[in-house]
């Protein structure tokens, strides 16, 4: 019963998990491991979710924390785990072509260059979260979040002036 509820929550938020995995791991094998680790961490804490924050805020926090720790440990986990052969969350074959789209590639190329905290920040921004929500997920002030996003904007402008 609990597992059915969990699967339903994951189904509703699979997009969010997929995007975090994609931004933090460029390697497909590592990405599968990260996806698995995020799902395990979400399951471990599922019974403790008390509804004080929105479910998406809770998922963002756990998924980003897991991704950052995973990223820092140089994707070591892939050596330790019996990976699933296929991803649990995946895009159907023909549509995954969109991930090869020039603009999407450029976008991921830009995200790839950011450090793990700025990656989280930009992901939350691109996902249309308000500064208040971004601040709540990351644990920084709203002003801080706004300042950082504006700095990233400037950095991006400099970087892509000639494009």
């Amino acid at each position: 019963m609990e597992k059915d509820k969990f699967i339903s929550v994951i189904k509703d938020n699979q997009k969010l998990i997929y995007k975090i995995c994609y931004c933090y791991c460029s390697n497909q094998e590592s990405r599968k491991d990260l996806e698995q680790e995020i799902l395990l961490q979400l399951w471990n804490s599922f019974s403790r979710f008390d509804g004080r924050v929105k479910i998406s805020t809770w998922i963002y926090r756990i998924a980003l924390n897991t991704a950052i720790s995973f990223y820092r440990s140089d994707c070591k986990h892939s050596k330790n785990r019996d990976s699933a052969d296929v991803s649990i969350i995946s895009v159907s074959g023909t549509d995954s072509e969109m991930e090869k789209d020039e603009n999407i590639l450029l976008l991921f190329q830009f995200i790839e260059q950011l450090n793990e905290l700025d990656k989280a920040l930009i992901l939350l921004y691109l996902d249309n979260n308000r500064y208040k929500t971004i601040a709540e997920i990351l644990g920084i002030s709203e002003t801080n979040a706004a300042t950082k996003i504006s700095r990233i904007k400037m950095k991006l402008k400099e970087q892509f002036t000639n494009i």
Partner: protein, 205 residues
């Protein structure tokens, strides 16, 4: 190109994902959801092993010290070993408590990452003292073990005693310091740098 252009691209991407993402429910059900090999859990197991080992050493050495209570040259080193093991035990408890206190699931990203890195830095710092203490644990314990296991009074076998002291102080110390420098020092500095980065991220406005 500006961030707003990227935001449009991201929205298209998001729409594509909304239409085409598939969750493999069967695979998710099959996944052993209690099998996380998270780094912190491995550290916790390691610390628990440390604590149990320290407790066992304390119990065993205490028993030996009481057994040789009339032979001061054995029971005093025994009590020194107990004292050093107690330090190991306390350090292990401090780290375990720190690990258990981190709220991995309810706290914001920056807070969790700061707590993890602070604990990592503290652990690596304490590891240095543990390595320094290791010869102090072994040096007094060996005479006691020689007596108990082989019934050899190491204080009467001068060459054996000198060998023990030279081996532990002459070789073990430089080896342990080398170990710290090559395995822990870099990680310690790395944790410090990441903490500084987090601090900057949290405080700059």
């Amino acid at each position: 190109m500006e961030l707003d252009d990227l935001k449009n691209t991201w929205s298209q991407y998001d729409k594509m994902l909304a239409d085409n993402l598939r969750l493999n429910e069967e695979l998710l059900r099959k996944l052993n959801l209690n099998s996380s090999k998270r780094e912190m859990q491995k550290v916790l197991v390691y610390e628990l092993i440390n604590i149990v080992t320290a407790v066992l050493v304390i119990i065993f050495t205490l028993w030996l010290s009481v057994y040789y209570i009339n032979l001061l040259r054995f029971c005093i080193p025994g009590f020194i070993t107990i004292a050093v093991s107690a330090v190991y035990l306390i350090l292990g408890i401090i780290r375990t408590k720190g690990l258990l206190n981190i709220d991995y699931y309810g706290s914001p990203v920056v807070k969790v990452q700061t707590e993890i890195l602070t604990l990592k830095r503290k652990t690596l710092h304490l590891r240095k003292y543990e390595l320094i203490l290791l010869p102090l644990l072994l040096l007094p314990l060996l005479p006691l073990l020689f007596k108990f296991v082989h019934n050899i009074d190491i204080y009467k076998e001068l060459s054996l005693l000198v060998f023990e002291v030279v081996l532990i102080t002459g070789l073990a110390y430089p080896l342990l310091m080398w170990t710290y420098k090559h395995f822990y020092d870099k990680k310690f500095k790395n944790a410090e740098n990441l903490l500084a980065e987090l601090d900057k991220f949290k405080n700059e406005e």
